[in-house]
């Protein structure tokens, strides 16, 4: 469906690695306090419309500040045959950001598909909101791990909370009821003052949101390492369950169908967040970016879940997509592009929290707890009624339109109070973003690091030294009891948690009748990956696989969250490429597919990247959870214990 030549640059020399936009020279369009104005003053007089863009081809646009390169901007002009409007520019900058377009990672991630073993269980795979795996004739599960690293550093509680909220909506969008969460975490040194701020905030946020949604937390990781000091990692995994027949699709099918926005009102949350927070490194400028933080409302999300599930069961939904990092922009373009249809949207119909918002702000807003539905016109009333029952706002904001007569995909037309502000081919934002084969080079210090082998470390030679070593290990925060964290999470809610902390893998009962259930584990080892990203990633996979297998489950699917530094650093890019290769090879060897995941780049402080941290989640099936194998030996009543010597 690509309507434009693939802009992949094969030769590294073909481009100079772009530097991330330095400190913007123009006022940054990210602070809600100073409403976003990524435009010269003339625009403030009114809305920048398509006709106006046609008539003012030479107008200066702040695309650099929005993270777009010269050639990317040129491509937008070429696609549109004119300069983009302010709204269109915002949309392209978001959709073509690293976070949304996977422009640096795409060429590598292809291996997951190419090397994936055949699986007839896979109902939805990479490219969907989350992979869906069939586990019985009637039932399927879906799971995915995602990052919310940068927001969790800026505002730990809300960053973590909305991280959980976001992954839960991905799972919900597949037609599943979310049934469990996990949270792999990385922090700086345990005794660093800022760790006290970030750790407590993140844990409270994960708990605050997950507990309030009623999702048991069945595992995670807690690792301290100075490499994460200025860039902690909050990865969140969600597991969902669905009847196979309830699988949902994001495609905005059926011209004439109604486009419904459901959930919270739209405010100035996180405007610019996606292009700035998720893709930029932290430096002195991060202070100014702070207001881009979103605030979550788990209560609304809980209602959203119940309302959506009721809509699915009543077969009222033709297509559905969650609103995530890129808000309406992403949801509108992805749903239309997936169906090849067009869309007509009346933007002033979007319920606003702040009436003064401009069209491009509405399109870029990252307000949480929203979903986009595509609904057949005669089902609209029933949809609105269900939403009302659950106290969830739902508003018809647009209509699906037909593809072009010649069979080409339709266009996305957005008006704002009768002014045409967007007229784009939706696929150009979703599928035709830039793709880079970035230069890669093994980090220069790797040889030295690898030469410094464990064998050269002094070994405890006498009981005293041994004692010393044991004490040091026991005192390590990375080996210490995790109860302080896990006690803040509800593990019992929903009544199906068979294994959770401190077990190696979590086990959830899926079907009360048959005992069918799944086991899950997430693991990663940044230090190992730093020394050898290829094998370090395989190790993470192997650990998660083992942790699932020892519960008695058969591992069947993989999800991953790849946390790395800047892709513009050839050393980081090499680590990334090696990690992907390792995971793809490992999955091939073990015979299980990667079903989905997430890439998080720009995890670094200044020029110093975090340890490459691929986090791997493995899911396994237990035909009967009663047969699960717990970590400890369970004493039998009557004292007739099995003994092991």
């Amino acid at each position: 469906m690509t309507t434009h030549p693939d802009p992949v640059r094969d030769t590294p020399e073909a481009y100079s690695a772009p530097s991330q936009p330095a400190e913007p020279s123009l006022p940054q369009p990210v602070a809600p306090t100073a409403p976003a104005q990524p435009a010269p003053a003339v625009w403030t007089e009114g809305v920048d419309t398509v006709p106006r863009a046609d008539g003012t081809p030479g107008e200066l646009q702040p695309y650099t500040e929005l993270g777009l390169r010269d050639d990317e901007y040129d491509r937008i002009r070429q696609i549109l045959g004119r300069r983009p409007t302010q709204s269109e520019l915002a949309m392209y900058s978001i959709m073509w950001s690293e976070h949304c377009s996977y422009k640096s990672s795409k060429v590598h991630l292809r291996q997951f598909g190419e090397k994936a073993p055949q699986s007839d269980r896979l109902l939805a795979g990479i490219g969907e909101n989350a992979g869906v795996v069939q586990i019985s004739d009637e039932l399927a599960v879906t799971f995915k791990v995602e990052s919310h690293n940068h927001p969790s550093f800026v505002e730990p509680y809300q960053g973590a909370a909305t991280g959980v909220g976001g992954i839960v909506r991905d799972i919900l969008a597949m037609g599943a009821r979310p049934v469990a969460v996990m949270d792999p975490l990385r922090f700086g040194a345990a005794d660093h003052p800022d760790t006290a701020r970030v750790l407590t905030g993140v844990v409270a946020g994960v708990g605050g949101y997950g507990n309030c949604l009623g999702l048991p937390n069945i595992g995670g990781e807690l690792v301290f390492d100075p490499s994460y000091q200025g860039n902690p990692l909050l990865n969140a995994l969600c597991l969902g369950v669905l009847p196979v027949s309830r699988l949902q699709n994001k495609a905005a099918v059926g011209p004439g169908n109604v486009v419904v926005l459901m959930g919270a009102k739209t405010g100035r949350d996180g405007i610019g967040g996606v292009s700035v927070l998720a893709s930029a490194t932290f430096d002195e400028g991060s202070e100014a970016r702070r207001p881009a933080v979103q605030v979550g409302d788990p209560f609304i999300e809980k209602l959203l879940i119940e309302a959506c599930l009721e809509l699915y069961d009543a077969q009222l939904v033709a297509g559905i997509q969650d609103l995530g990092g890129a808000g309406l922009t992403c949801a509108l373009t992805e749903t239309a592009a997936a169906a090849g249809t067009g869309m007509r949207v009346w933007l002033e119909r979007v319920p606003l929290r702040e009436p003064s918002m401009d069209p491009h702000e509405i399109l870029a807003s990252e307000s949480q707890e929203r979903m986009l539905l595509v609904v057949e016109p005669d089902k609209l009333d029933a949809v609105l009624k269900t939403c009302e029952k659950w106290g969830v706002l739902a508003t018809a904001i647009g209509e699906v339109t037909a593809p072009e007569p010649d069979g080409r995909p339709g266009r996305l037309l957005i008006t704002w109070q009768d002014h045409l502000v967007v007229d784009v081919p939706p696929g150009s934002l979703v599928d035709d973003g830039p793709v880079y084969a970035r230069p890669m080079r093994e980090p220069a210090d790797l040889i030295l690091l690898q030469a410094d082998r464990a064998e050269t470390l002094p070994r405890p030679a006498d009981p005293e030294a041994l004692r010393e070593t044991v004490l040091r290990m026991i005192a390590s925060p990375n080996l210490a009891d995790k109860t302080w964290v896990t006690e803040q999470y509800d593990r019992y809610v929903l009544g199906n948690t068979v294994l959770a902390q401190p077990e190696d893998g979590g086990v959830i009962r899926i079907d009360e009748r048959t005992g069918l259930g799944v086991a899950l584990s997430v693991d990663g080892n940044g230090r190992y990956a730093r020394l050898d990203p290829y094998n370090g990633t395989k190790l993470a996979l192997a650990e998660a696989y083992r942790n699932v297998a020892v519960t008695g489950a058969k591992p069947i699917a993989v999800t991953d969250c790849l946390n790395f530094g800047s892709p513009e650093d050839p050393g980081v890019m090499w680590q990334f490429a090696e990690a992907v290769r390792g995971l793809a090879d490992g999955c091939l060897e073990l015979g299980i597919p990667v079903t989905g995941g997430n890439v998080s780049f720009y995890n670094q402080t200044g020029a110093a990247p975090i340890h490459p941290t691929p986090v791997v989640g493995v899911l396994g099936v237990l035909d009967n959870v009663a047969d699960r194998v717990p970590m400890g030996f369970v004493p039998r009543a009557g004292g007739d214990h099995d003994q092991l010597y």
Binding site: P32, D269, D297
Partner: protein
């Protein structure tokens, strides 16, 4: 003894789920004429000696308010406003 009161409110553009939930509940109490409800924190600080506004401002900035999402005001209040005048 006068005290220092620090009022911490979410910045106007930040979502206030608490206030929202209360506003939504009001019609059930038969209240229909409320346009908006915002909920924040009120912190009363008593000093051992003279109340110290600057000190209070510093505490508010560092500890009581989260500058990422909240604004605050600091003011002196006579003891009776805070304690006795409650209905």
């Amino acid at each position: 003894m006068p005290r220092v009161v620090v009022d911490v409110m979410l910045k106007p553009e930040i979502l206030d789920p608490q206030g929202q939930a209360v506003a939504n509940a009001l019609p059930r109490l038969g209240v229909g004429d409320v346009a908006s409800v915002r909920i924040g924190r009120r912190i009363e600080i008593e000093f051992t000696g003279e109340p110290d506004l600057d000190r209070a401002r510093e505490i508010a900035d560092k500890l009581l308010a989260n500058p990422v999402i909240e604004d605050f005001t600091v003011r002196l209040v006579e003891a009776d406003e805070t304690a006795d005048a409650r209905s």
